[in-house]
Each structure stands twice: as C-alpha cells, then as structure tokens.
C-alpha cells in the first residue's frame, strides 16, 4: 500500500499525533494556500502535538508538488504565538494504484496508521477559502470531544453542490437517519479507530478509489455507529473542477457508491425512520459567495434529449406510474421551457427506483448510472427555476422539503426493494410522448 518513498518518510518521521492529508492533481494554483493554512492551523491550535502535512499527488504536471514543498508561513509572528512550536513536517508523495482521490486518501490513512496518528484531517487542494481555523474545527472534536468523524458544514452558493443537494444529502439522510449536510464535502476529520476501519476494508479498488470516496467514508461512519458530528467551516470557495473531468463519470462514481453501500448496509437503513440532527461545532455566520453560473437551456435540452433517447433504459428501472409522471413533466418542459417542475416526491421515487434497479440488474448497473445524468440535469434545471429569486435561507428550506419528500418515500423504497427477487414488476411501457429539442 505504501510506496518505498513513503516508507522512508515514515521511518524518518517515526511519529505524528496529527496528520493533515491533501490529495491533489494539478492544483499548483491553490495548494500553496491550503498548505499554509494547514501549517498555521497546526501551529496555532495544536502547538504541542507533532504533526505532518501529507500531500498525496496523482501525478501532477503543473508543479503542484513543488508548490507544496515551497509553501511556508512567511512570518510566524502573525500567528501571535508564545509557546514553543514543534515543527510541522511537509511531505509530497505520489500515490500508486487507480488514479483518483480515493487512492490518495488510502495512502494518507496508511501513513497515518504507520505514524501512530490519533487524528487525521483531509482537505481538498483546490480550496480558496480554507483558513487555519478549519484545522481546529476538523481535528479538535476528534481529539477533545471523542468524535470519530467530523463532516464539514459550509455555506455554499445555492447552485453549488447540486449532486449533494439533489441526491446524496436527501438520500443518505432518509436512509441512515442522520442529517449530515455535506456528506461529500471533501474536508473531514477522522479518528484513528475509524481510519483503521477504512484501511481494513477490501473495496478500495472500486469507485471508492475515485470520487466515491467521500460518501463511502461518511456512510461507513454513520452506518457502523461511529460518533459523527459536523463543524461549521464558513464558505466553501474552490477552483472549478478539472475541465477534463466528466460529469457523468463523477455522478456514476458518487451515486454508484451510495447504491452499493445501500446493499451492504440494508440491515441498518431498513430499521431507520425519519432523521435527527447531528451535533454542529463552530460559530455560524453568513458570508458572501461566488456566483455559480448555470445554463438552464442546456440542462433542459439535455433532460428532454435524455427522455427521448434513453427512456427505454430508464424503463428498466422506473416503475410504470413514475415513468408516466416523468412523461408528463417532459410534456410540460417542452411546452413551457422556463416554467416546468420535476416534483420532489417524483424525484425521490425516481432515485429510489434506480437504487432498486441497481441491486436487481448487476449487468446493467453502468448503463443505469450513466443514464441518470440527463435526469439529474433535469432535476437541477427544475431546482434552479424554482429557486431563482430565493435567498440562501429560503433555498435551504427548499432543500429541507426535498429531504422530507425522500423520508416520506422510504416505505415506497422498502416495498420496491423487497419486491426484488420475488415477483419482478414489469418494466413500464413508456408513454408515447413526442419531444422536440
């Protein structure tokens, strides 16, 4: 699991109480700031603990690793510290295996294990809004309050994090009953016993190695009964994702991981009803956010094209009445491209139908997940139109309504889930709707 270089680094360092992990791939522009913030945070809030910052790099060619090693706090006096400081070590190492964030995390956790760390925090390398307080907020609940997993809680622009808002948060909350608002936030604090548990699992070579890692970590922490809390980190401002990254692949990896874990933790979520809040650390305040541009027309077009071309594949997953309701939505979208809606309850049932089909048809899993992209874009378009004039708190209320719709649809999920393997419900014959785009 550890490369020779990593082993040598571990042998040299011998011990660290805290490990801060930063996975990266071509993040030279922002990673220097992230490393400096982490360094300052460790120096300011944990001066008496030995710590190391590990950059796990996926083969960047833009000087990311050099930027990490060069980054340092220009003037330590700015931190207003009187106590003697232990040095914060910095490492930048390439990881091996499947290229992706998950593989980077795996190396970070393995090094944290070898170094005997009590707590590990991971932060994204593309962050522009990280401050030294983030380190405190992610690590302190682990070291001083007995939590095993600290999830982030941010203010984000209403159109940022739509996979979180439209699928992952409502579904995870409805399934496992905990309101972890940013289950795929990317910045987490993890206790030793939990990252040891992650390391002993054998599904690292799946979507977990890529974008599935965040929801995988969160779900395991919740489903296996670890102590989970959230820390308010302020605003999440980050660089745009790698332009080469493919939305469909990201959606497939994230949603695929949720669905796969649903099978594993069926015994957990079956018994859960409703949801409860999670402890939240940090002082909440409102912040200004970068606007996120959206192209409504293109999303609507992608949705309608999806319905026209992919309904045969959707019909493998969707229950007849849901497919008919979707056809009605498409008719509405075609007639009134700026005024149509994909209702919450229908969206919840669609996601749940796909989860059941994912279980029922292993061979078709990739198709089902990849065909979800136009549906997701349709849901996002509907959400954008609905919240166009809303302020942040109103949007949050709107997301709460969606979550309640998911929770209300849980009996439907159970019914469909249980029907798998008994009598197969006939996939629906799609309604003949002529959609022109």
């Amino acid at each position: 699991m550890l490369t020779e270089e990593a082993r040598r680094a571990v042998a040299q360092l011998k011990k660290a109480d805290i490990v801060i992990g930063i996975p990266s791939y071509n993040n030279a522009r922002t990673i220097g700031h992230v490393v400096r913030a982490a360094q300052a945070g460790l120096a300011k809030y944990f001066p008496q603990l030995s710590s190391v910052i590990i950059n796990s790099d996926g083969g960047s060619r833009d000087g990311t690793q050099e930027a990490v090693l060069k980054a340092s706090i220009e003037d330590p006096r700015l931190l207003l510290l009187n106590t003697p400081l232990l040095p914060v070590h910095k490492l930048s190492l390439p990881y091996h295996g499947i290229p992706g964030k998950g593989s980077a995390f795996r190396m970070i956790f393995a090094m944290a294990r070898e170094l005997g760390a009590s707590a590990c925090a991971v932060v994204d390398a593309d962050l522009r809004s990280i401050t030294p307080e983030w380190v405190d907020l992610l690590v302190r609940p682990v070291l001083h309050a007995g939590y095993d997993f600290v999830a982030p809680y941010y203010h984000r622009h209403k159109y940022d994090g739509t996979i979180t808002n439209s699928i992952v948060y409502p579904l995870t909350r409805a399934l496992y009953g905990l309101r972890v608002r940013q289950p795929i936030g990317g910045d987490f604090g993890i206790a030793r016993r939990l990252f040891l548990r992650y390391l002993e699992r054998n599904d690292w070579e799946t979507d977990v190695a890529r974008y599935g890692i965040d929801i995988w970590m969160t779900t395991i922490a919740i489903a296996e009964g670890y102590q989970v809390c959230q820390s308010f980190l302020g605003a999440k401002l980050h660089d745009a994702k790698d332009p080469a990254a493919d939305l469909t692949a990201m959606l497939q990896q994230v949603v695929g991981s949720v669905f796969t874990l649903m099978r594993e933790y069926e015994h957990v979520w079956r018994k859960v009803e409703g949801s409860r809040p999670v402890d939240l650390f940090g002082f909440r305040f409102d912040v200004g956010l970068d606007p996120v541009p959206v192209n409504l027309e293109r999303m609507t077009k992608a949705f309608l094209t999806g319905y026209r071309e992919l309904r045969e594949i959707w019909s493998l997953a969707l229950e007849k009445s849901n497919l008919e309701a979707l056809a009605a939505v498409c008719r509405q979208a075609e007639q009134n491209p700026r005024g149509w809606r994909l209702p919450d309850d229908l969206w919840a049932r669609i996601v749940m139908d796909f989860a059941c089909a994912h279980r029922r048809m292993p061979v078709e899993r990739t198709h089902l997940l990849r065909s979800l992209t136009p549906l997701y874009l349709g849901r996002v378009a509907s959400f954008v139109m609905e919240t166009e004039t809303m302020i942040s708190s109103e949007v949050e209320d709107r997301i709460e309504q969606l979550c309640l719709a998911f929770e209300a649809a849980k009996p439907y999920l159970l019914e469909r889930w249980d029907s798998v393997g008994k009598s197969q419900t006939a996939p629906a014959q799609p309604a003949p709707v002529e959609v022109r785009t």
Partner: protein, 233 residues
C-alpha cells in the same frame, strides 16, 4: 399368356409383400416411437411447468440483461421457454429413433447428419445469442455516451454499433457451421473496409477544419457555458 400375366402379378404382389414386410413394421415402430416421444414430451413439459421452480433462472435472466434482450417491455418467463426446449428436444430424439428403426442407408445417413450437426447448431446458436447480447450492451453504452456527449443522432450511432456486432456474430457463427464461409467473410471485410474508408474520407474532408480549430483552442471547452454543466458536485 395368362400364365405370364399371372406370373408377373404374382411377382408384383410378392414384391409388394416383401416391401410391406420390410417397411411397414419399421414404419409402425417409428410411429409408435414418435407417438411415445410426443406423449413423454407433453408429460415432461407439463410436469416441468408444474413442479420446477425457476425463480433463480428468472433472476439470472434479469440480472444478466437477457430479459431485456428478448422483450424489453415484459420480463422473460424462463419456465415456458425451458419447457419448450425440453419438449422439442424429446420430440427430436423420438424422431431420430423412429427414423433409425428403418435401418436403411438413407435414414442412417440422415440421423448421422442430424447428430453431427446438432452440437454445431447449438454452438452457433450460442454464438449468435452472445453476439446479440453483446450488441445490445454495447449499443446501449454507445447510446448513453452519445446522449451525454450531446452528439447528433445518438440512436443511429447505437444502431451502427449493434449492426456491426451482430454482423460479426453472424460471420463467426457461419464460419463455425462452415456455411457460406467465404461469402460472409468477404462481406465482413467489405463492410469494415468500407466503414474505415468512409470514416477516413469524412474526417479528411468534413471534420478537418473542426479538428484543426479544436486542436488550436484546447482551453476553449473549459470556459464559460461548458463549465456550468458539470460544476455542481
């Protein structure tokens, strides 16, 4: 004269009797065997439908994607299908056994031919089935990819993939059966060669400029509107 006539008549009747003696018993035996086979086949089919639980097979057919291959709007019921196959196999065995009862060179040859051909036919059938399954799978992949990439005519792209894979399966099956081998092979080479040539010409003539523009502006796709579609994680 009358003597000759009666002699011919006698000989003719004798030949008829000999023929009847030679062929009627085997014919009757063949009929009995065939009727018995039909009875057995009918009973076995009914018993299979009544007694055998094929839920695991139904599940396999759904999980493997074979269900959507045969009838995409209705899940495939495997019990009648398997029962039907058993029924026809028993009938075929009955027919061959019946034919064997004649014990002539012709019937022996026929039986041998069928016995020799049957495994080859079954293998060719399996090759075709696998080809159609693969064609369906890859066509779906192509369709979803084309839709998500916003390419024009996604169904045509999927259909092209499907036709190509099925065609390859037909060529392989024909080759296995040693049937019109050269015709299929030539057709296959013509089709693939034609496609490559057409693609090259299309790329050379039509897409040349677009490709040049695309290569000249590598950063363009990451800007502005393009970002908005995937910047939502």
């Amino acid at each position: 004269m009358i003597g000759t006539l009666s002699e011919i008549l006698e000989q003719s009747l004798q030949r008829l009797a000999t023929t009847a003696k030679t062929y009627v018993p085997p014919l009757l035996a063949a009929l009995v065997i065939f009727v018995a086979a039909w009875l057995i086949a009918t009973v076995v089919r009914a018993a299979f439908l009544r007694l055998t639980k094929t839920a695991w097979l139904d599940r396999f057919v759904v999980e493997s994607g074979l269900s959507s291959l045969f009838g995409r709007n209705r899940p495939l019921e495997t019990a009648p299908l398997v029962a039907g196959v058993i029924y026809w196999l028993i009938l075929l065995v009955g027919l061959l056994t019946g034919l064997n009862a004649f014990n002539t060179a012709l019937t022996t040859k026929m039986v041998e031919a069928v016995v020799f051909l049957l495994p080859k036919l079954a293998a060719a059938g399996l090759i075709l089935l696998a080809g159609v399954w693969l064609a369906q799978y890859l066509a779906r992949s192509a369709l979803i990819w084309a839709v998500n990439e916003n390419l024009p005519q996604p169904r045509r792209i999927a259909a092209a993939v499907r036709v190509l894979i099925v065609f390859v399966a037909v060529v392989v099956a024909a080759d296995h059966l040693n049937f019109a081998r050269t015709v299929f092979l030539a057709a296959f080479l013509l089709v693939v060669g034609g496609m490559v040539l057409a693609g090259s010409i299309a790329l050379g003539l039509s897409a040349h400029e677009a490709l040049k523009r695309r290569l000249a502006e590598p950063a363009h796709s990451g800007d502005g509107e393009e970002k908005s579609l995937w910047n939502h994680l």
